[in-house]
């Protein structure tokens, strides 16, 4: 590790020499661009940055970055990241994953990385479909979805990734979408700053197998009426004229209302630092799918001990109490006797 100033970089410095091989028109391109353009602003070093992934279209991401990286096996990136992040606190560890990778085959690793609060920035590209295996339904596909593997419609109730992350004790949960670079970068920046596991769901368009899945809410014309920006400390409002808002009913339920009907003071004020995740969870359930007004932004950002730091603390404590481990003494820690 060096203490000299971080060299200034440009987007180009963060791109590898590998040809990007996603389908033309894929939402992944804009996410890659957002990341590559953001990194020069974060004051981080290439050699201390690692991108890890599992399997799927999104998982090719590390090959396109000029950092250290690993394209691992299906669903396991959070587990691999846990080993890396806890042993190398000097590194920035990014996990790039998809809805199948993170929520289906790797669901167990995701929830445990979140509850442990291991320092990693998880970017989950959600396109509600299996892309790399060519078009089967995913754990976020809407009920009754007709795909190659569900010609009569899928029977599985989908996961809501933000709800899932909140339920898994995540300390940082955000949502963004691939049509808004600025918003993505703001979310990624916040996630990167977070001390612990940060989970960002990115609505991402798969133009080949599930085109326009989010069009109703992320389309340029639709956005202002359908995306509900969450701003910490601000009343939750949206619409072209900010004429819509969110209120909490006496029974705890959240509801979209016309501000004119209830008055500004009745609106729910967003508090991402709220200890109790109940309201964040309620916000994650505000829309039933990408066809109703849907919150984006940071749902939750709370401080909780970071796993690797706690682990390092235990080691330091032990060394302080017992001194640095001595192998000779270890071998003699049980009863010993001498012959001859």
């Amino acid at each position: 590790m060096t203490t000299t100033a971080v060299p200034a970089t440009t987007r180009k410095d963060w791109a590898s020499d590998q040809e990007v091989r996603w389908c033309p028109g894929c939402g992944d391109y804009s996410i890659l661009a957002a990341v590559q353009m953001l990194l020069p602003e974060l004051g981080v070093r290439r050699e201390n940055t690692v991108f890890l992934s599992g399997i799927g279209c999104a998982a090719r991401f590390p090959y396109y970055m000029s950092t250290y990286g690993m394209h691992s096996i299906h669903g396991r990136a959070p587990a691999i990241a846990t080993g890396l992040a806890t042993t190398r606190p000097d590194l920035d560890v990014w996990v790039v994953t998809g809805d199948g990778d993170a929520l289906s085959i790797g669901g167990n690793h995701l929830i445990h990385a979140l509850r442990r609060n291991v320092r990693m920035t998880i970017l989950m590209f959600n396109n509600q479909i299996y892309g790399l295996t060519k078009g089967q339904y995913s754990p976020t596909s809407e009920l009754a979805k007709v795909t190659k593997s569900t010609p009569f419609g899928s029977l599985d109730t989908p996961f809501n990734p933000v709800s899932l992350a909140l339920g898994a004790e995540a300390s940082f949960v955000a949502r963004t979408h691939d049509m808004d670079r600025q918003h993505m970068q703001e979310m990624f920046r916040r996630a990167h700053e977070h001390e612990g596991a940060a989970f960002v769901e990115i609505y991402q368009n798969c133009n080949v197998f599930n085109d326009a899945a989010f069009e109703k809410i992320t389309g340029r014309e639709a956005r202002s009426a359908m995306l509900v920006p969450l701003v910490h400390g601000e009343p939750i409002r949206f619409g072209k004229e900010l004429e819509k808002g969110v209120v909490q009913r006496p029974d705890g339920r959240l509801e979209v209302v016309d501000v004119a009907d209830v008055g500004e003071d009745a609106l729910l004020v967003h508090d991402e630092e709220r200890e109790d995740p109940g309201l964040a969870f309620a916000l994650s359930r505000l829309s039933r799918g990408p066809y109703e007004p849907t919150p984006i932004g940071v749902f939750r950002a709370v401080r909780r001990p970071e796993y690797g730091a706690s682990m390092a603390e235990q080691l330091a404590d032990a060394q302080e109490r017992r001194g640095v481990g001595d192998l000779k003494a270890l071998l003699r820690s049980g009863a010993t006797w001498t012959v001859g």
Binding site: R45, V50, S72, G83, H109, G323
Partner: protein
């Protein structure tokens, strides 16, 4: 000479005397809740401190507390102590301590005529007899006539001596195992002090329990002395050990310490990613206590995360290790394949148990050898190292790390339930003499691209070892991507080129095969050099094979023994060694896995001797197979 013969003594009725014997095999058996493992362990510890050679065999059920008094709930601990070099816990117990009818019933079948039985007479009531399935009381129906039976009311005496210490009878009853320990300690002239010291330390925060256990132990000891029940006590003298400092060690503990030693030798911080599984969990327990060595232990959410986190740690420049048993290896297989492709150092410890599936969780088997060898999709060769005794787990762990680090490869380290829990005296190595392990991290670009720019090629191999450079993140200019997709030879870019794939498959295989040049030749124990039969073994059959070969030789057979530590690749001289012998016998606790490998590799008619009962070979079983190979007893 069999152990029963040695155990026989001259008769001196009415007068207690001390008889010297060379060795004895004691088996403590009781209910799972009776503390038999603890009793056996303490008897072992005081014998070790006394200077005996010894070997132990804890034999317990998978259930924590099976229904009490039933055969399924019987837990036993067998130990052989001797004044000479012993390599097994003994074929057959000379003394069986049975705490209840079920313990008697489960173990009496293996006893030989003349064996000594010490039973807790209090436990032979009608209900307990019925639970164990006895129609009549064996203590009175004559079925034990072939044995010397000592009926001792252990429970009631223990309760009696604890009475005025304020211990309730129910609680005092729990100390009866210490009574049994005291009695057997007297019978075999064990020193009292180490056990009393241990009780005082162990139960320091529970004064009543301490008092009850100490009183029960002393009462057992004095009972032997004063009850005039026993004709003699026995003395097993200290064994002749090479000079040095000794400790008693189990396989799991030795393995954990070996990993810590390897971490020191390499300067690589140790990271263990593991999911609890019998019989491997004690390695996780031991390492999680040793944080002052900078050891990070991570109890993962599952077996896959255990190895995944270890791979992540290895990528970051730590010594990545995962520990498990057979079912866990199944789950880790995909990740082992990833590590083969990533070519990162990794140690996967498989403490084998009976399979398939959940199988026999607390029992030993050696049936994962072919799984270790071939249990992955694609051509995914992995070196295999196997420990052969509890203390050898220390050396085997260091060797596994050495190979993993030097060749940038996952290594499978095989132990088993018998080694894991078995204990033996261990002469402590001089740690200053252990070979350092050089991680040899990459520090600079290793190639120049077409326009003359220095670049880092992560798959540019060392011409001698064929190992690729290990470049943990943090060094500018060495940024690189690895992954499960096939890599272009040298540059490490993703490659689907047919010729490149074949080249990489062959390179990975050649790298592992080349390790044969870097491991010691297999040693053959063939003193006269004229043996007709080679007994070839691996793993925990070592002790039983050594004992069997000694006995067969003592009867005039010409037998040699070779024991493999490296199962993949085999030592370079193995083919030549096998060719020297007319017959080759391979005893294994499986249906013939090593025998299959050597048959395939060397075209020799290796005969398999199989045992898959969850219990180790008895030396006499191997001895009988030697006789059969060589045409009957010599």
């Amino acid at each position: 000479m069999t152990t029963t013969e040695e155990h026989r003594t001259e008769e001196h009725p009415r007068e207690q005397r001390k008889s010297k014997i060379s060795r004895v095999v004691v088996r403590f058996a009781g209910d799972s809740g009776d503390g038999m493992q603890l009793t056996g362990d303490r008897f072992t510890a005081s014998s070790a401190l006394f200077g005996n050679d010894l070997s132990t065999f804890p034999d317990f059920p998978a259930e924590i507390r099976a229904p009490s008094g039933t055969l399924a709930g019987v837990s036993a601990f067998q130990v052989q102590i001797a004044d000479l070099d012993v390599t097994t816990p003994g074929d057959v117990p000379n003394v069986l301590v049975a705490m209840n009818p079920a313990a008697l019933k489960a173990n009496v079948g293996v006893l030989e005529k003349g064996a000594t039985l010490v039973v807790n007479a209090d436990a032979f009531d009608e209900r307990s007899l019925a639970k164990a399935g006895y129609g009549s009381n064996p203590l009175s129906d004559g079925s034990l006539a072939a044995f010397t039976v000592y009926e001792v009311p252990m429970t009631s005496i223990t309760q009696e001596v604890c009475k005025d210490a304020g211990v309730k009878p129910r609680d005092a009853e729990r100390s009866k195992n210490f009574f049994a320990l005291g009695l057997v300690s007297w019978l075999y002239t064990r020193p009292v002090e180490p056990t009393i010291d241990w009780i005082e330390k162990r139960f320091a925060d529970k004064p009543l329990v301490l008092e009850a256990n100490a009183r029960a132990f002393r009462a057992g000891y004095h009972f032997g002395e004063t009850a005039e029940l026993f004709e003699a006590s026995y003395e097993v003298g200290p064994a002749q050990f090479p000079p040095g400092e000794y400790t008693q060690i189990s396989g799991n503990q030795a393995l954990a310490w070996g990993l810590i030693a390897a971490s020191k030798l390499s300067g690589l911080p140790l990271f263990l990613g593991s999911y609890p599984i019998t019989p491997a969990s004690d390695i996780l327990h031991e390492l999680s206590r040793r944080k002052e060595f900078g050891v990070r232990t991570f109890q993962a959410e599952d077996e896959i995360a255990g190895i995944g986190s270890a791979i992540g740690a290895a990528f970051g420049g730590s010594l990545g290790v995962t520990t498990t048993s057979g079912p866990g290896v199944d789950l880790k297989s995909e990740a082992i394949g990833l590590a083969v492709n990533l070519e990162l150092p990794l140690v996967v410890v498989d403490v084998q148990r009976g399979g398939p599936s959940t199988g026999l969780p607390t029992k030993a088997e050696q049936a994962d050898l072919l799984h270790a060898m071939y249990g992955r999709h694609g051509e995914a060769p992995v070196p295999i190292v196997a420990a052969r005794t509890p203390s050898h787990c220390f050396d085997a762990a260091i060797e596994a790390v050495r190979i993993a680090v030097k060749y940038r490869t996952p290594v499978l380290l095989l132990s088993d339930g018998y080694l894991a829990n078995g204990a033996e005296p261990w002469r402590l190595p001089d740690v200053d003499l252990l070979e350092p392990i050089d991680p040899a991290f990459a520090t600079a670009p290793n190639h120049v691209d077409a326009d003359g720019t220095p670049v880092f090629w992560p798959y540019l191999r060392d011409p001698e070892t064929l190992a690729r450079p290990w470049a943990p993140p943090g060094i500018p200019g060495l940024e690189h991507r690895v992954g499960g997709l096939e890599k272009a030879d040298g540059s490490g870019s993703v490659s689907y080129d047919p010729a490149n794939h074949e080249r990489m498959v062959r390179l990975r295989a050649a790298k592992i095969d080349g390790i044969a040049r870097d491991i010691p030749p297999v040693e053959v124990d063939d003193e006269a050099g004229d043996a007709e039969l080679l007994v070839l073994g691996w793993g925990s059959t070592y002790g039983a094979i050594v004992a069997a070969v000694r006995r067969a030789r003592a009867r005039g057979h010409r037998v040699a023994h070779a024991h493999l530590v490296h199962l993949h690749p085999f030592p370079e001289n193995l083919g030549e060694v096998l060719a020297r012998y007319r017959r080759v016998l391979v005893p294994e606790m499986n249906l013939g896995q090593l025998s299959r490998l050597v048959r395939a590799e060397y075209l020799v008619d290796a005969r398999s001797l199989s045992k898959v009962q969850g219990v180790p070979f008895r030396a006499r079983e191997i001895e009988a197979a030697i006789d059969a190979e060589l045409g009957g007893p010599a």
